[in-house]
Symmetry: D3
């Protein structure tokens, strides 16, 4: 429940500030999002989740825009408003256009449709895919 108020930088412990500082430095932003401010009530989880996000969403073999679009797609499929908003903003910062966002949502919708048809019909995996 939103019993949990965000912890602002000025009210944060040194341990929490260290994570906030790393988020701001890594992302080159002047403040951290509410997600981190709420997670901050549990500093080990704050540190652990940030460490995971930093590694998984950091430089790799998939470009940053595609990574954020994948995150948005899963979040849209799961119905997480906050995650759609925050990762949608990140994707736009990396260049996602509104036309691309519309296409992304169309794919999310269609995949959810065909996922159910395939599962309900119990379609056997084609031999060539095994």
């Amino acid at each position: 429940m939103s019993l949990v108020p965000p912890i602002e930088y000025d009210d944060a412990s040194p341990q929490v500030r260290a994570v906030y500082d790393d988020i701001m430095a890594t992302r080159k932003v002047p403040s951290v999002n509410n997600f981190w401010k709420v997670l901050a009530h549990d500093p080990p989880t704050l540190r652990r989740i940030w460490s995971n996000i930093k590694e998984v969403m950091g430089p790799g073999t998939i470009d940053p825009l595609t990574k954020e679009m994948l995150y948005v797609a899963v979040s849209a499929s799961n119905g997480c408003r906050y995650c759609i908003a925050s990762h949608g903003a990140a994707a736009r910062k990396h260049g996602m256009t509104e036309a691309q966002y519309s296409e992304l949502l169309a794919i999310v919708g269609l995949a959810n449709e065909t996922n159910r048809l395939v599962t309900a019909l119990d379609v056997a995996v084609d031999a060539k895919f095994l």
Copy 2:
């Protein structure tokens, strides 16, 4: 249930063959996957779903590789084995490497984790995202 056997091209009605032909021509492949052969028991749905897939996954503002990766991500999140296999194969045909697939799955897993944390903690959307 897999009561529903695939309908092979030779056994298909002209209406169904027309869809199979369009799938093969559009995708430049010599045969259609089991999904279509099972859907073929219901020709209107076969035609309708193919029409949707053709439009949504066809040329647009997101490149074909990214489109397939988004499809795989949603299917992996939903646990549709067949869809992971078939769209995973399509993504690989468009150039997805195994390293990229691993990164994709890591994003799917992490998004599912943070989607639940965000929802359970009822994090308010940051004003700048509204």
Copy 3:
């Protein structure tokens, strides 16, 4: 896990047999499905779930065919193979045709698609629906 073998009538306790007997009498069938035989390892749950199914799926204001179709639709949406098979069989016994089953699955697929679009786009409920 399928560590749990079905408990056949001959091996069942009197308490379990009483539930099996009631299922067979209520449904006018000569045996019970695997679901009940597996649940039978936990007699209180067997009794409780049967009592719920008997009440919810029994006579009411929705006809028996529609009730089974609703059960199939939710099960198809959730990807429960067993439930699709068993409630699909029940629906067919009550008269569901294959054409109706195809339409049912088309609705399940489409609802899953539009549910995600609506949620992702955060569409406000129309005033007239409030």
Copy 4:
């Protein structure tokens, strides 16, 4: 996000108005719901989704009331408030009583319960259903 304001008829492009007109004519209603007004930002998706809904929810072998009840059941299972409200209203227009709606929700709840029990217990499909 609800960054996306509904597009009213007077502000819509001819392409979008044509879809609105078809929705109003098909459903014999004086205006379209918010879902369509939000989708209208992406005219191809607006046209495509309407075309799907029109076909799947139009005349077939399942009566209109049952079709809407199936849509409501999936939407209730998936937790899509908007879809429950709008398809619930459509079902009521086709004659769904409050008693029937209560029964529908009871089935949705129970199916979600038994779907999990069946899946967790990995119940084998009865031979007669294969």
Copy 5:
């Protein structure tokens, strides 16, 4: 939709009051939660669901605190705000600390992550678990 206003004790039928009375007596509380007041529009479902909750959440082989924590975990995984709030309150009444709640959410998040990885990778169950 929240078309459904809560039914207060003073406005309830004798049949509904009997359930309210049993809830209050069983739980030693002076009033019932909104969930019951909304379910009360459908007295058979009110009675049936309370009977299930009373049996499943009552004395057994799992202690009351753990039972409530399991309920919260499933509800957090499914994103049911109300259920997280009400069963979270019940768990706290039985002694759940904020540190334990944080650990519970961390487990929910992580299980959702690894559930997807396992399913997407189609990991075979180890022989020793069969």
Copy 6:
């Protein structure tokens, strides 16, 4: 897809062996489960997920048995067979009885039922829980 064969210890790179060694030492077991052997194709994910599991499932304010039961409950709710089997085995090692497992599943089923009822009915959170 199960294209991905498990990587056995003898075939593993030093980097992967180091993780396997830590898993075996931490859990005091002579080998690692298939999940780790499949994840091993992506060493950074293997290391990252193990690090998360080790931290979240390690000593804390919730006892080890309850932690495993929470993991099983979420996995049962999500329908991850492998996770139910492996974390179920871990829970049994920590003392979970079959009677407790039955109660756990009953809670998972019931929570899934009431989660849908609450969400579909859009029950307002009681003031005392805010």
